[in-house]
Symmetry: C3
Subunit: 399 residues, 3 copies
């Protein structure tokens, strides 16, 4: 191979390592935003997300996405129990784990660990890989339509977000989340510092996610992707904070989710928009996420970390924003070929697929095993009942 190829591979490996580090980012956001009596359970789910994800993606997930023979642009077939093709596997497996991990936070504090373990192979090994085949395999039906999703606002984040939506619908709200009038109650998280560290780690890892999706370091302007990513996250964080001040004081949860919203929003278009476009995408992401979180909460959707809004709804916005801000073909800037049709088809098909398949699989698991712990177990906390331990053995806690 030529030196150029080795330089490209070096960057993909480094970027994959950065994306892998998003796993503890999710873990910290989820434990920080929830109560300490369920922290060990969240730790266990996050370790299994990556571990079960890596094994199932090796066994069959990669093969369904990139296995050589495409079955009508819908899925691939081949390369099961993969040997070789390491560079593609390594970068993709960390993405697969990300999609799975998004679900974990939304359904936290009331989901049975064994049932969750059954769901993981489906999302890492089937649901997510098939969407990647549609978009990133070079053989998929969505990419044929002209659909653009550079780093995965749709492929990764909408998949995770809509699977999470199915999850919270089936498992139902946590005890105490709504009062007898159905009014949502605040359930304080165990550590906003852990949550903030998690968001900063995700932001850090996101440079691997977005910039790494160039899948190359040569003949590409990596820095421009890092800059659009930075500007959108920054703008999302700022607007979410100011929007949160409309109904009160500058809110830390909204600010943190605003940064994530800006990151999800720019993920589809990070290589296709200019800096001004990135700032605007982020600004709008920060507004969307606050209203979406408040709206879903009022509708009875109890999302413990805001994952559906951050990843699902802002994922939609990210995919659609490419149609508006894409420099070469966008509406506002140069008026080339309209991306509105392919992006809308992508939004509809990915959300329907992720939601529908997750709903089906989770319903089957619910019927067979029960997806939710008992009332007593939920009140006692999952750490004690599911894992026989406590997370903070040394501290006096309230819950």
């Amino acid at each position: 191979m030529e030196l150029t190829t080795y330089v490209n591979n070096l960057w993909i490996v480094v970027a994959g390592i950065l994306v892998m580090f998003m796993q503890p980012g999710f873990m910290l956001v989820e434990t920080g935003f929830t109560r300490s009596k369920n922290s060990v359970n969240i730790v266990m789910k996050n370790f299994m997300d990556f571990s079960v994800g890596a094994i199932t993606y090796w066994a069959f997930g990669f093969g369904l996405a990139y296995g050589g023979i495409s079955v009508g642009g819908f899925l691939a077939y081949g390369s099961f129990f993969l040997e070789g093709d390491s560079i593609n596997y390594f970068f993709q497996v960390v993405f697969a784990a990300t999609a799975a991990t998004i679900v974990s936070g939304a359904v936290a504090e009331r989901t049975k660990f064994s049932a969750y373990l059954f769901f993981q192979p489906f999302i890492c090994g089937v649901i997510y890989p098939i969407v990647t085949h549609w978009v990133w395999s070079g053989q998929g039906w969505l990419s044929e339509l002209g659909f653009i999703d550079f780093a995965g606002s749709g492929v990764v984040h909408m998949v995770g977000g809509f699977a999470a939506l199915a999850g919270i619908q089936i498992v139902g709200p946590r005890i105490g989340k709504y009062d007898e009038d159905g009014k949502p109650q605040n359930i304080p998280g165990s550590s906003m510092v852990a949550g903030a560290l998690g968001v900063f780690i995700l932001w850090f890892g996101w440079y691997g996610f977005n910039v790494g999706s160039a899948l190359s370091a040569v003949d590409v302007d990596l820095a421009s992707i890092a800059v659009t990513t930075t500007l959108s996250a920054a703008a999302g964080s700022i607007t979410a904070m100011y929007v949160s001040m409309i109904s009160g004081k500058p809110n830390v949860g909204m600010t943190l989710n605003g940064a994530l919203a800006g990151l999800v929003g720019i993920t589809a278009g990070c290589a296709n928009v200019n800096n001004l476009g990135a700032v605007l995408i982020g600004l709008i992401s920060g507004v969307i996420v606050v209203y979406s979180i408040n709206f879903l909460e009022r509708q009875g959707f109890d999302d413990a970390v805001g994952a559906v809004s951050v990843h699902g709804i802002c994922g939609i916005w990210g995919v659609f924003s490419v149609a508006i801000f894409d420099i070469s073909s966008g509406l506002l800037f140069t008026g080339g070929t309209s991306l509105i049709f392919p992006q809308l088809i992508g939004i509809l098909s990915i959300s329907a697929w992720a939601y529908g398949t997750s709903y089906f699989v989770l319903k089957v698991i619910d019927s067979a095993l029960g997806l939710r712990v008992t009332v007593e177990e939920e009140i006692a906390g999952l750490d004690a009942t599911e894992h026989g331990t406590i997370a903070y053995g040394d501290f006096i806690t309230k819950s």
Copy 2:
């Protein structure tokens, strides 16, 4: 472009990503060293440091530093609302955020959030960029004098440290920091583990800061910069611990600040000194930081995390140490052209500029808005009064 350029750009992007990760490092040091009733406030300040910093540096900070037309070597003009030149923006914006974040820790636990928000655009967008124009733009008056500051002991750390000094003078000491006789009291931090994690994260990110400042990976010995950085930090950590034992037991706060002192100390000369020089610079940094922290505390300067000593005073030492240990022109080693004059001019001008402008801006903000919260708010904690929440919703805390 040639492959060499892409390899260089790849390294600069990776280094910039590492420097960005210093943000949670600062956040953890600041929350760990202070009380839990103010942790959310610190989280919010750190998120806004990077977010507001990124937007203002894009809007006008970069233009004042590197905008093309130099106004007498004092500032540049142009490239506002930057498009293009991504590689320079990305590496510089993470530096700008670092300079801003240093202030946040020093004035923690009593500064009004809204007032702090007003200060950020000045330091990220004006005060810091102008100093970079003096030294790193290739057009600045200080670099013309022969001033050397490879990675920013002066440009970044002195700027942050002297802005912090102005801040703590204006905002005054925390309630309870001094008894009625003016004797300083110890205010225990909420988590030394978080503080230590923060320092390790800063140390990790510092490799991006120092080694990345080569702005190249080709025709440069990156590893030698990593080694001088490592040795100085290690030496600073060790001597600070032993110096702390003169008046008691091995002190964790001093040891952690000793590592940071060694890092700040080597930042100016990391590419200009040999390994022995690096060890000596670190040794002396570790001594300086302990005496400086104790001295300032006795003088009535209440610096919640030791930021003025670590970044300001050790920044001076770092800049000056180049005149002593520089291999090509230093006094002790080969006796080339003396750097004493340019380094002293740099120390005086950067400290005066950062202190003076920050003092002026903060005084204006203080008159207009008030920089300090009320006594009741300070006692109740900024998290409750400024953000309507608590950081550790699940834990029983003392404050």
Copy 3:
């Protein structure tokens, strides 16, 4: 130098930075798994591990490993107080610190800080460097025999693990670890979230450790090493969890140690085995670590974090697994030259050397200074008695 060399050096520097970040990983595992009254002490030991390690490795450790003149393949001589050769020093010093840090966790909660400080220069500066001379210097007697240890299951992890074994034997079990019948008692850790974050950080840094050990980015398939590393860690995590369920509920401590076991297990063979081999190595590592931890605990060895099992015993398995799964010469796959003899010699000599020299040095320190704190100090906690502080000044703790 040619561009290829700069690309290689760039990767080694990045990999070294990743390995350095394992230091806070160890710190978090150790503080998370132990009681909060000893957290500052652990922080201090970890900072000194890296700081004292960096200085002693610069002063004489590197010279004993790679100093030019080999004394009979046993140790080298030269390059003391190193100048130049930065790329080799930087990558090796972070490995040396890792070997030292392993010991810190095992003997936590009862070891005198001053005594520990005396031990560090020996392991970083003598015990570890001499083993690296045997295996990685190109002049050593073990590599002459055909011994293979790509990234250090033996050279780093067995050295740390067997030094830790000597440490826990000499220092004895913690008060309260065994009841009057000698039955082991559970001592709950202060934060499983910190422990889990530590393991994820170690996993992240391990990519630098294993993939970086290629010492090159060109003419090598870096991604394949990242993949074997990922698969083994994932498999280890899963099997350790399931094995822990034989006698109870899915255990978080075992799951976390299972991931580390899989990482240690694959370290020797990560570049020599295929993906299926990596999965099998990890599966077996996860089984070994659970039984080893339980066995050692029942035998009266009180290892506060499971370091002897994770690093020592799984290190043996990692070294031996190369003889089974090596693609070019392994038994199961292609039946080339048997590696059984060199690997067994390596296991015996490294474990004997690390255990024997550590035992001797620690015994001498024990006689001279006393290795263990007093009963009163141990009960009060090392933070108060050794460092005059508490780790969590703001929280109400139980111990």
